[in-house]
């Protein structure tokens, strides 16, 4: 236990501390970081462009969460309640592709979404899309990419929650004069809210930091915070500013996480009281 945890702690804390320190530094022309106490990078974050991108990323990540929830719920529900003995197989079928190389998957998805890709082809054929319609390099394209990238993180916790849920809860809802829809909204959904919350966190975090989706499927108006961070590290050699951006993003994520932890703590505390 000891060597493992010492190494982990040193490595993680050390490396994150380095990022934090670097955010106050500068670089030499060759990109070597110079440490210092230089608030300039954080001052630079005041640039309205960053706020716009940060807000956009938040928006995309939230939208991704919502879409994932709306799509994943029926899928998880169908599998958990009607999957019978194929349950495990079906869930495995969902999970397995997500362990294929992320880049290859996203690249394949971008081909599917491309102007003369199969998806638009089908949509045009059934008249849902006109000739000029396109998905790539639009906001829906980026969100579609994020959804494709991370939906599995929504399905698994939802499935687990639905699977664990006592089916007689639904029956109790019906028994107490609820129609099918009311029972869903008043009983099933609240009973699985923890799964949904866990799923949202698991989707939100990586979606917020992602840069591949915006790179492959976004246009000029779809730049996300991840792309800017990547730019700072890969172009213009501005690691300190990149670090500062990273700190900003982590602060935003951390606030979100804190809220989530609070909630689950509270739920747990209630459960044991």
């Amino acid at each position: 236990m000891l060597p493992g945890s010492l190494w982990m702690t040193a490595f993680l804390i050390g490396s994150l501390a380095l990022v934090a320190t670097l955010a106050f530094g500068t670089t030499d022309p060759l990109g070597n970081p110079r440490f210092g106490l230089n608030p300039e990078n954080f001052a630079a974050l005041a640039e309205p462009a960053y706020r716009a991108v940060m807000l956009r990323s938040l928006g995309y990540a939230l939208l991704t969460c919502v879409i994932c929830l709306v799509v994943a719920y029926p899928v998880a529900y169908a599998i958990a309640l009607y999957g019978g003995r194929f349950k495990t197989l079906l869930i495995a079928a969902i999970v397995v592709p997500f362990f294929a190389n992320y880049l290859v998957r996203m690249y394949g998805w971008s081909v599917v979404l491309s102007d003369d890709g199969p998806l638009l082809g089908v949509l045009r054929a059934i008249g849902l899309a006109g000739d000029g319609t396109r998905i790539l390099q639009t906001a829906p394209g980026v969100v579609a990419g994020l959804v494709y990238g991370f939906i599995v993180f929504m399905i698994i916790p939802l499935y687990a929650a639905l699977e664990r849920m006592d089916v007689s809860l639904i029956e109790a809802g019906r028994d107490l004069y609820g129609g099918p829809l009311r029972t869903f909204f008043h009983v099933t959904l609240p009973a699985t809210r923890q799964g949904a919350a866990a799923g949202c966190v698991l989707v939100f975090l990586p979606a917020m930091g992602d840069f591949v989706s915006a790179q492959l499927m976004g246009g000029p108006d779809q730049i996300m915070i991840g792309n800017l961070i990547q730019d700072k590290f890969f172009q213009g050699q501005n690691w300190p500013l990149g670090s500062a951006l990273t700190m900003l993003m982590m602060a935003v994520l951390f606030l979100g996480m804190l809220g989530y932890l609070r909630r689950t703590r509270k739920d747990e505390a209630e459960a044991v009281r």
Partner: protein
Amino acid sequence: MTPVTTTTTTTAAGPATGLAPAVRLDDVCKRYGDSHAVRDLSLDIAPGEFFSLLGPSGCGKTTSLRMIGGFTDPSDGAILLGGKDVTALPPNKRDVNTVFQSYALFDHLSVSDNVAFGLKRRGVDRAGIRERVAMMLERVQLTELADRKPTTLSGGQRQRVALARALVNRPQVLLLDEPLAALDLKLRRQMQVELKQIQREIGITFVFVTHDQDEALTMSDRMAVLNDGRMQQCGTPEDVYERPANSFVASFMGTSNMVPGTYRDGAVVMDEGPALPVGPRQGIAENSRVNLAIRPEKIWLSDLAPGMARVTGVVRETVYSGPTTTYLIELTPGVTVSVLEQNTDRSRMEDRWSGGEDVEVGWLPEHCLVLN
């Protein structure tokens, strides 16, 4: 097991009242694929009755209850509630409520919101809801806990919430699927008393599923014993325990001693022992092989009365268990009966046998059952 004997009334009619039965099952069947979960079940349950469905695991108790509640559609037959055919209605349209085995409480709602759930769905106004919920919580002694979440309650409290949630809707019939199965013995006894008391006070018909014979015997007004999807017997606890319709019911309802022998001249002749008078029995052929069944508490060990069947045996084992002592007595080699004796009088008990003594046992002929 053997099918229903002819002595049982197939449509088990409730006590003769002028009212329509609260629940009537009319030749109800439920098939799953090739197998029958419930076959030709007909049953009348009178308003205000505490009616139990009893039987071993898989005999179709839950299925029957679910058909009454509307969660499972019968393959055949009709279900009437208060004289009205409800066979085709969904659960939310039936005037019955269910207490589920798992309680199925809504963990995201407080106790009072759980109880209010059904009233809200039926559009009762807010003041009405508040009042009825408060009254109900009072009755089940949960007023203190009204704002707690169900996850923070004990098993007994959870059960009371489930009960309140169902009863507050004042259904015609309350269905209970083994509501006590999850509780430990002590709590269970306590809950049995409470449940019975509430039923008596409120006067609603209870249909109660259990696989515990003691529970069914102590709580029910009437009960039906099921096996393998078929009704075996329906009647009061005494009917069922003292006059079982067939050997399945006899052995399912508590311990029975079985003494093999040959039926001859109004007596069962043991293979290597005496003839035990049982009186004339209908439906038993002369000279046929039979089992004489007799309950351990019906065998006497002392003060034998005249007219009793008597046999001598050897005391093989004595098991003291506080209020009672059980003796294992070997009548002939291989035929052992257990005899239950209440420890009424310690002075008598103390000089009882510890094993090996000869003893004379006896019973009244009317207490024994002759089974093919």
